[in-house]
C-alpha cells in the first residue's frame, strides 16, 4: 500500500504549499516544484517510495495539459495580422536572446535551442490570472497579451515536434527528417480520423454515464501509445533493413492535435469540463515529480559560474520581454507605455518552460545537468519575480516611461 503513502505525501504537501502560495498571492507552480525537491529523491527528505509511480502520474498531467491547449487553441483568431505580428516579434526577440546567451555560456547547439524555447515561452496561467485579478481586462493590451499566449501555444507545439525529432534522431539529418515526417503523418491521420468519425462519436459524448469520459481517455491514451508503438515499429523495421534508427514520436504532440481535432466535435464540450479537473490534479503531480527527479545539487548552485549564468539569463529574459513588448505596443497600440505593460505581463515563465524541458529530456540522452538545473532555478525565480512584474505592470510601465523621458527629453 505504499502507493497510497506516496499519493498522500504528494497531495498533502502540494495542498499545503499551494494554499500558502495562493494566500501570499504568488504563483503556485514553483511551490509544487519546491515540494518535490524537498520531499523527493535527492538531497531531501526522501519520502517517496515509488518514483516511477509518481512520475507516471505526472506524465499523464503533461499529456492532459497539451490536450487542453490543443482543444482551446483558436486557429481562426490567430490569423489576424496584428496578432501574428505580435506573436512573431515576441518569438523573434526572445528566442534569439535565449539562444545567443545559451551559446555564450557554453551550451551545445541543441541545449541552446532548448534554453531559447524555455526563455521564449511565458506562463499563460500566471499572465492570464494576473490580468483578471489585477482588473486589466478593460484595457486594449489585455487582448494583445492573451493572443500572444495563444501564439506561444502553437509555437510550443512546433518546438516540441522539432526538438523531440532532433533529440530522438540523435542529431543525424536523415533520422531527424524521418522522425519529423512520421510525426506529421500521424498528426494528419488523427485529424482526418476524428473528422471522419465525428458523426459516430458525437452522440457518445452526450451520454450521462461514464462513457464520455472513458471514450476521451481511450482516445488520449490510445493515440499516445500509438505514437510510442509507431516509434518502436519504425526502429524494428529499420533494424530489419540494417539501419540503426532511433525514432521517438512525442506523445504530448499527439495529445495536442487530438485536442484540437476534438474541439471540432460540438458535443465534446460536456466531458471537457471533467478533463480540466483531471488536468489540474495530474499537472500538480507533474510539477512535484519534476522537482523530485531533479538532481538539485547545491554544489552547482553555489558555483560562481552557475550563479553568473543564471543572473545573465534572468536579466536577458526580463529585458527581452520588455523589448518585444515595446515593439508590439508601438506598432499595435501606438504607445510605448502600453507596450511596456505588455512586457511586464508576459515576464512570468512557468509551466511551459518546465514541460518543454521535461518532454525533451524524456526523449533521449544528451542534455547536461547544467541546463536542467539552470532552467529549473530560472523558472522558480522568474515565476515569482514575473508575478510581481505582472501585478504592478502599470506602475512599472509608468516608471520606465519617466526614466526614458528623463534620458531622452521629447523633441519640441
Amino acid at each position: 500500500m505504499t502507493f497510497l503513502v506516496d499519493l498522500a505525501v504528494v497531495t498533502v504537501s502540494c495542498l499545503a504549499l499551494g494554499l500558502a502560495s495562493k494566500y501570499l498571492r504568488q504563483a503556485a507552480i514553483p511551490a509544487y516544484i519546491i515540494a518535490g525537491i524537498i520531499l523527493g529523491k535527492s538531497g531531501g527528505f526522501n519520502l517517496i517510495t515509488s518514483y516511477d509511480f509518481v512520475e507516471w502520474l505526472g506524465k499523464i498531467g503533461v499529456i492532459l495539459l497539451m490536450f487542453y491547449i490543443g482543444y482551446e487553441f483558436n486557429f481562426k483568431g490567430i490569423r489576424e495580422p496584428g496578432r501574428l505580428f505580435a506573436g512573431c516579434t515576441d518569438f523573434g526577440v526572445n528566442f534569439i536572446a535565449g539562444f545567443s546567451l545559451g551559446l555564450v555560456i557554453g551550451l551545445s547547439l541543441i541545449e541552446a535551442l532548448i534554453l531559447a524555447s524555455a526563455v521564449y515561452i511565458s506562463s499563460s496561467a500566471i499572465a492570464i490570472s494576473s490580468l483578471i485579478e489585477n482588473k486589466r481586462l478593460i484595457y486594449p493590451e489585455a487582448e494583445t497579451v492573451v493572443w500572444l499566449m495563444v501564439f506561444e501555444d502553437i509555437i510550443l507545439a512546433i518546438l516540441l515536434v522539432v526538438l523531440t525529432s532532433i533529440m530522438s534522431g540523435s542529431f543525424a539529418i536523415i533520422t531527424i527528417l524521418v522522425c519529423l515526417a512520421v510525426t506529421l503523418l500521424l498528426i494528419v491521420f488523427i485529424l482526418t480520423l476524428i473528422r471522419k468519425l465525428s458523426n459516430f462519436i458525437s452522440p457518445l459524448f452526450e451520454r450521462d454515464d461514464e462513457i464520455p469520459i472513458l471514450l476521451t481517455f481511450a482516445l488520449i491514451f490510445g493515440f499516445s501509445s500509438l505514437a510510442y508503438l509507431l516509434g518502436i515499429l519504425l526502429q524494428a523495421l529499420a533494424l530489419h533493413l540494417g539501419i540503426s534508427l532511433q525514432c521517438h514520436i512525442s506523445e504530448v504532440i499527439v495529445a495536442f492535435f487530438l485536442g484540437s481535432a476534438l474541439s471540432g466535435v460540438k458535443s465534446f464540450k460536456k466531458p471537457f469540463g471533467a478533463i480540466i479537473s483531471f488536468k489540474n490534479l495530474f499537472l500538480t503531480i507533474f510539477f512535484f515529480s519534476f522537482g523530485m527527479m531533479f538532481q538539485f545539487q547545491f554544489a552547482t548552485l553555489s558555483s560562481t559560474y552557475f550563479v553568473l549564468a543564471l543572473l545573465a539569463l534572468i536579466t536577458i529574459s526580463i529585458l527581452g520581454k520588455f523589448v518585444s513588448g515595446a515593439i508590439i505596443g508601438k506598432r499595435l497600440h501606438g504607445s510605448l507605455e502600453t507596450g511596456l505593460r505588455v512586457g511586464a505581463y508576459t515576464t512570468p515563465r512557468g509551466e511551459f518552460s518546465i514541460v518543454l524541458l521535461a518532454v525533451v529530456i524524456g526523449t533521449g540522452p544528451g542534455i547536461s545537468e547544467l541546463l536542467s538545473s539552470l532552467v529549473v532555478a530560472y523558472v522558480i525565480i522568474l515565476s515569482i519575480v514575473g508575478s510581481v512584474f505582472a501585478k504592478h505592470g502599470d506602475r512599472i510601465g509608468k516608471a520606465i516611461m519617466v526614466g526614458i523621458n528623463k534620458l531622452l527629453p521629447p523633441a519640441r
Binding site: E72, N74, G77, I128, I132, L137, I138, E143, V146, M149
Partner: protein, 160 residues
Amino acid sequence: MRISELPEIGTKYEIESPKGDKVAVIFLATGEIELYVLEAGAEQPSVTRLTSEEARRVGSVLTGAMLTIEREDVEVSFSEISDLRINIHICPVTKRMVGKSIEDLGIRKRTGVTIIALSRKGRSIISPPPETVFEEGDLIVAIGEREQIKVCAREILGQV
C-alpha cells in the same frame, strides 16, 4: 460596441461613450460575468463580478424593462415539478372594464383566466373577490394558459 474574444478568459463587449468613459462586460469561461467601468482619465477601473442571475437583473434594469411594466408575461417554473409552468400576465385595466366587477365581466366563465391580484394605487389586493369593481389605473395580475390569456386580452380587455 466592440466584441472581442479573449481565449481562455471569455468574451468581451466594450462600449465607449463620447466622453471617453468605457464600459466593458466580460462573459468569463466560468459562467460568471465581470462588469468593468473605466471613467475617462481614471487610473483604475471599477470591477464587479456578477452571477448570471444578478447580471440578468442588472440587464433588465438597464433596458428599462423594470420601469415600464405596462404589459408583461412572466413564466414561473418550479424546481420541484419540472413540467409545471404557470404563465402570469400583468396588464393595466382598460377603459371598458372600469366600473365593472370581475363577476360582471365574467372573466373566468368566458375565458378561463383567473385574476389572482390587483395593484391599486400602490396597494395590492390578493385574490380579489368576484364583486371587486375595477378602477382606472388598476394593474391586474392574471394566470391562465397562453391561449386563454390571448382570449382574455381580446374579449375582456378589448385588445387586438
